[in-house]
Symmetry: C2
Subunit: 347 residues, 2 copies
């Protein structure tokens, strides 16, 4: 890109987004050149076309989209930039696929500080680089002050499904074991603590992370995995209900098998939240035939992102598709869908 | 999907979007089942996973994203739903590719009428069906009233580039001819007329349409096309400046060769707009070697979406990358980049 075209450089320290940055004209070109392309630097993006062209390996492909409207934009353990990479990389990976590329659509609110935007785009670039999944094409729109909320980022990811892998939410079968890759509730509690300005003795950080490397190990070792899904909005409870409905099965969980950090447990008590419904951004649920469960568990535990993995229950026959849970006190409860709104704008 | 799960059906007549529709819980599942999946109906979306899996033909792939924040949401000749399909189908097609699939991320504002959302999603489905490019995966987020503006839709499209086609904004060469597929300014004028509540003797409608079928004919007949781009935000002038900068060339246009409807010309005079900078959503610019220009023009004119195509100028050597235009009055002017903000939220 020819930067000599601009009479002066963007004021990335004190400048703000204005309507000209969405006009399609020179100001938008400058914003893209100096802020986006610089940070997200890769050859495909540098081509400067309205689309990216690339070779893909043969095989089945997967495509997934996730909009990000999280508030606040910056939170302990991440920000909307890194989250928008992790969220979509994970959605692609939950098919068993290897994620390849991302697109990113930004909707900016007039008046948003360019310094914050720069921080977000750099965080996005860091997450994309760390995951090895570049943002290859993008779009920027600007809306008037009061018609947006700082920044919204919608990312779409594509990937390639390895030969012989067939993972879907409708493949859970009675007898299958349910595995969880780590502790629940970290992301939602980190966001709520920040919103409520709470501080705990031990800070809770979001678990926002890309899980495709963990998934790659899992599908390589146990190609017979039936379902994979990341329990984001609505938490573990809602995600399991979704799978139960899709597969036409029920589930039986053991509460004490579900990993949870003591500080998350404490924060949930204080905030009046049920951790089963609190969002996660770096955990996954795997459902596999019983005979494969111990091997899958071992593979997960051997990976840093699955070190605390556990078998938390099993799939059962149930025409009502209920999720039942044996509680730590020896009782039993039905874990229903999230009914109302627990945590708005959590991702 | 098992609709018996919901105690009552969505009130698509008088209901509105509320925060629970973005929660990840039962209300969101119902909105997706009853409003989105119903309208956008296709097998991949019905799978109900967080991603769609499909086979793709071998070859180079293309990926493009476009956010849509147009205001008003409904306008003469279209709405944000159809526009969000056309915009991204066209961005994919401008590489010469055949578009295959779309993803769609919705950001809804609390309080938005479900009846309007239904109308938008049905329009989107109609446009996707007509184009033969289904929406195979989606996402819905909800923001509080006053933190959005009704509906924003970000779509990403993927497609396959035919063997032997190599189209990019940096391939324009001195001597190449510049072709335009039809009249300019229709979309922008339609939007501005609606915003300003103007009515003209002859109503101006948006030209919003998918151009991939026109492109398919063009690349089949003239594989040597160098550049294709749709002159959306910033209009013809800005798009030509982008290409000139990317290719390191200048351009010489003939004003009288540029097709424009008399009613668009009149409206631009009244609104104080320069039609060269007004957005289009159903037109394309093609740049090809001089020896192929007449043949390409004939192919374009043989297609209903290119019936008014014209050769509007040629690529010249110019280290300043200026676009010059011989005016209808015999003078000459430099057609610069759009400098400020002509028409905010035009797409």
């Amino acid at each position: 890109m020819n930067k000599k075209r601009y009479t002066s450089r963007l004021d990335l320290k004190n400048g703000t987004v204005d309507m000209t940055h969405g006009s399609g004209g020179r100001a938008m070109a400058q914003l893209i050149d100096e802020l986006f392309v610089g940070a997200l630097d890769n050859e495909l993006l540098r081509q400067g076309n309205d689309q990216a062209i690339f070779e893909v390996p043969p095989g089945r492909m997967v495509m997934s989209v996730d909009g990000h409207v999280i508030s606040p934009l910056f939170f302990p353990g991440g920000d909307i930039g890194s989250l928008s990479v992790h969220g979509t990389v994970n959605d692609v990976a939950m098919s068993g696929a290897r994620p390849l590329y991302l697109s990113a659509g930004f909707i900016l609110e007039e008046g948003f500080p360019l310094a914050d935007l720069k921080r977000i785009v750099e965080s996005m670039a860091g997450a994309a680089n760390a995951a090895g999944v570049p943002v290859v094409t993008g779009d920027t729109k600007v809306v008037e002050k009061g018609k947006g909320d700082g920044v919204f980022i919608t990312t779409t990811g594509i990937g390639v499904v390895p030969e012989g892998i067939n993972i879907s939410g409708d493949l859970a079968r009675p007898g299958d074991r349910i595995l969880l890759s780590g502790s629940i509730g970290d992301h939602g509690v980190a966001i709520m603590s920040k919103r409520e300005n709470l501080s705990f003795e031990t800070a809770v950080e979001s678990d926002s992370q890309a899980l495709h490397d963990l998934v790659a190990d899992m599908v390589a070792a146990v190609p017979a995995i039936h379902c994979l899904r990341d329990p984001t909005r609505g938490g573990l409870a809602t995600t399991l209900n979704e799978i139960a409905r899709q597969s036409g099965v029920g589930m039986q969980l053991q509460e004490e098998a579900i990993p949870m950090k003591p500080e998350v447990h404490a924060a949930c008590e204080l905030l009046g939240l049920d951790p089963l419904y609190v969002a996660n951004e770096g955990k996954l649920i795997a459902i596999c035939p019983a005979r494969e469960a111990e091997r899958l568990l071992a593979v997960m535990r051997a990976h840093p992102k699955g070190a605390e993995a556990a078998i938390i229950g099993e799939v059962i026959e149930d025409e009502h598709n209920f999720i039942q849970m044996e509680t730590s006190f020896g009782g039993s409860r039905v874990v229903d869908w999230l009914a109302g709104e627990q945590l708005p704008r959590i991702c």
